[in-house]
C-alpha cells in the first residue's frame, strides 16, 4: 500500500457553509503528517471525516484501504484518535480510564493488565494510577488521553491539537513520544498551531478557509514558497519599527519573531542597503515555517478579495 490515507475532492458542508472544500491529501505509512491552518479553517472537520465521525458531503477517501463513506466501522477498529479537549472521564481514575478503553477495543482480558501498564509507563504516569484526571497537570492529562487512544496499538493515530495549552516541557515530551511511535511504524496525522512541531513533521498540509493551499515537506515549503531574501535583524524597539521598515521600497514583508524581526527583501543585493539603513548587521536566513504560513495566508486573502 503506497498510501494509508488518501482523499479525493473530499468536501463537507454544514448548511450553506463549506467547512472542507475539495481536499486531496495522501499520507504515506509511518510518516508524521502535520495539518496546519487557522482556527475554523476545516482541520478538525477533515480529521473527523477521516475517523468516520462525520460523513463527507461529497468526494471520497480511504483510510487503510477502507472507504470513508461505507466502511467507517472497519476504520474505527484500526485507528486511534485524540480529540481537541482531552475526553477523559473525570470520575474515573487514571487506571480505570485506561481499562475502560482497553475494554472498548476488546483487548483480551489476559492482555489488558499488560497493555495498561505499558501505557502508564509510556505516559510517565507511574504512581498516579489512582488519581482522578482533575488532579493531573495538563501534560499528564494529555498523555493519559494519548494512552487511551493508542492502547489498541492502532496503525494510524489522529491527533487534534494535542499540545495546545500544555507546558513547553510537556509539549517536548509529547512530541518525543509521537516521534518514537512514528519510528516504530505508526502513521501520525496531527494538527497544531506550533511551528516547531510542524517542523518535525515529514509532510505538511496547510489549510485555509476549507481549502488545501500548500502540501509539501517543511524544507521544500521553506525553500520554494517565499520569493526574495529573508533576513533576521535584532533592533531595539523592533515592534514599533515594523511599519517603518515595511514602507521601504525593497522590503516585501516584515514581522516579529520572538525578539527579532524577519524582513523579506526583494533581492539579495539589497541586504547591504538594508544594513546601512538600520545600522545593524542583518543575517540571511532560510525563512521559518511561520514566515511561510504568514505569506501563504496573505496570498490566500489577496486571491479571495
Amino acid at each position: 500500500m503506497e498510501y494509508v490515507v488518501t482523499t479525493c475532492e473530499l468536501t463537507r458542508t454544514f448548511g450553506s457553509f463549506t467547512a472542507v472544500d475539495r481536499i486531496n491529501i495522501n499520507i504515506r505509512p509511518g510518516e508524521i503528517y502535520g495539518f496546519l491552518g487557522p482556527n475554523g479553517s476545516g482541520k478538525t472537520t477533515t480529521m473527523r471525516m477521516l475517523c468516520g465521525l462525520l460523513e463527507p458531503t461529497s468526494g471520497s477517501g480511504s483510510v487503510l484501504g477502507y472507504d470513508l463513506a461505507r466502511e467507517s466501522e472497519k476504520i474505527k477498529q484500526k485507528i486511534g484518535y485524540m480529540s481537541q479537549k482531552f475526553s477523559l472521564y473525570d470520575d474515573l481514575t487514571v487506571y480505570e480510564n485506561l481499562v475502560f478503553y482497553a475494554g472498548m477495543y476488546s483487548i483480551p482480558y489476559h492482555e489488558r493488565k499488560k497493555r495498561v501498564a505499558e501505557m502508564i509507563e509510556m505516559a510517565w504516569l507511574a504512581g498516579r494510577e489512582k488519581d482522578l484526571p482533575a488532579n493531573l497537570s495538563g501534560g499528564l492529562k494529555q498523555r493519559l488521553a494519548l494512552g487511551c487512544a493508542i492502547i489498541s496499538r492502532p496503525s494510524i493515530l489522529f491527533l487534534d491539537e494535542p499540545t495546545s495549552g500544555v507546558s513547553p516541557t510537556s509539549r517536548r515530551m509529547f512530541f518525543k513520544i509521537i516521534q518514537k511511535l512514528a519510528n516504530e511504524g505508526t502513521t501520525v496525522m496531527v494538527t497544531t498551531h506550533f511551528m516547531d512541531e510542524a517542523e518535525r513533521c515529514h509532510n505538511i498540509a496547510f489549510i485555509s478557509g476549507g481549502r488545501l493551499i500548500a502540501n509539501d515537506t517543511p524544507d521544500n515549503l521553506k525553500n520554494n514558497v517565499i520569493e526574495g531574501c529573508m533576513v533576521e535583524v535584532d533592533l531595539p524597539d523592533a515592534m514599533e519599527r515594523i511599519e517603518e521598515l515595511e514602507s521601504l521600497p525593497y522590503v516585501k514583508e516584515c514581522s516579529i519573531h520572538g525578539p527579532l524581526l524577519h524582513v523579506l527583501l526583494d533581492s539579495e543585493g539589497n541586504v547591504a542597503v538594508f544594513d546601512r539603513y538600520t545600522g545593524v548587521k542583518a543575517r540571511e536566513i532560510t525563512p521559518s515555517l511561520e514566515d511561510v504560513f504568514i505569506s501563504l495566508a496573505k496570498l490566500q486573502r489577496k486571491q479571495e478579495s
Binding site: 475554523g40 497537570s137 516541557t169 512530541f175 515592534m239 515555517l289
Partner: protein, 300 residues
Amino acid sequence: MDKMNINNIIETESLTKVFGGLAAVNEVTLKIDRGDIFGLVGPDGAGKTTLLRMLCGLITPSRGRISRNSDSFGYMPQKFSLYGDLTIAENINFFGALYKIDSKTIRRRADEILEITGLAGFKSRFADDLSGGMKQKLALTCALLAKPALLVLDEPTYGVDPESRKEFWKILYQLNKEGVTIVVSTPYMDEAELCKTVALISRGIIMSTGDPGSLKKSFPYGILELKADARDLDFINDLPEVVDGDFYGDKYHVAVYEVEQAKAAIINLLAEKKVAIHHLRHIPPSMEDVFVAVTKEEVV
C-alpha cells in the same frame, strides 16, 4: 506594603488563592510599573487566570494584599464573552451603555478603536460570524471603550492563528504607546519575548520575573543549535558535557555547561556515529529554554 509607589499601577503582597485545599495562586508578590507591558507566562492550569481575576477584583484572595493605583481598567476575559447574536455595533453600544458612556461618545471612540483594530468595515456583522482573531479584536474594542489606563487581558491570543496573533500584539504595542499599561497572560513562549516585563508562572508560583533580556542572561547554560541528518539525536544527552537536549522544530537544541568543550564532544560523537552535521552553532537561549530550565525540577 506601607505606601504604594506612585510609579506602580498594581502591587501585590503574598497574594494567595486556595480552591479546595489547592493553592491556585501561591504567595505572589508583584509590582507592575505604569506604562509596562507585563506578561504572565505559563501553561494551562498554572494560575494565570486566577491571578488576573484577583488583580481585577473579580475574586477575593484567600490571603495577601493587593492595591491597584488606577480607577479605570479594562478586562478582557479568556472566553469570548460577547453576544454572538448581536452585531459588532450592537455589542459595542451595549458595553458602552454599561459604562454609562453617552451614545455619541461611544460612536466616536468605537470608530477610533475599530480603525486601529481593522474592524471598521464589519460593523453590521454578527459576532458569531467573525473569525477567531476578529472576535478577539472586538472583545478588545469593548474593553477599551471606557478609555482605561490599565488593560488586563487573559490569553487574548489563545488558539488564534500566528498571523492574527502578531497583528494583535501590534495593536497592544500601539495602545501601550498611547499610555495604556498592559497586563497580559499567554501560554505562548514567543509572545513572552514581546513583553517589557515577564513573569514566568507555574503551579501558582512566580518562578522568575524580569525583562526578557535579563531573564535570558540569567540562563545558566549555553545553547547549541544542531542540524544533522538523523531522526533520533537523543544519544547526545549521554555526553557528560551536555545538560539536556531536545528537538526544536527540525533542529536539535542542546543545553551545555561549556560551549567550546561541548561543541568538540558533539562533533566527535557524530563523526563516530557517521551522522552528517549541517550546522552546529552557539545561539542565545529562547524564552522557552528559560521556562523549561526554571520549571525543570517539577514533575510534568
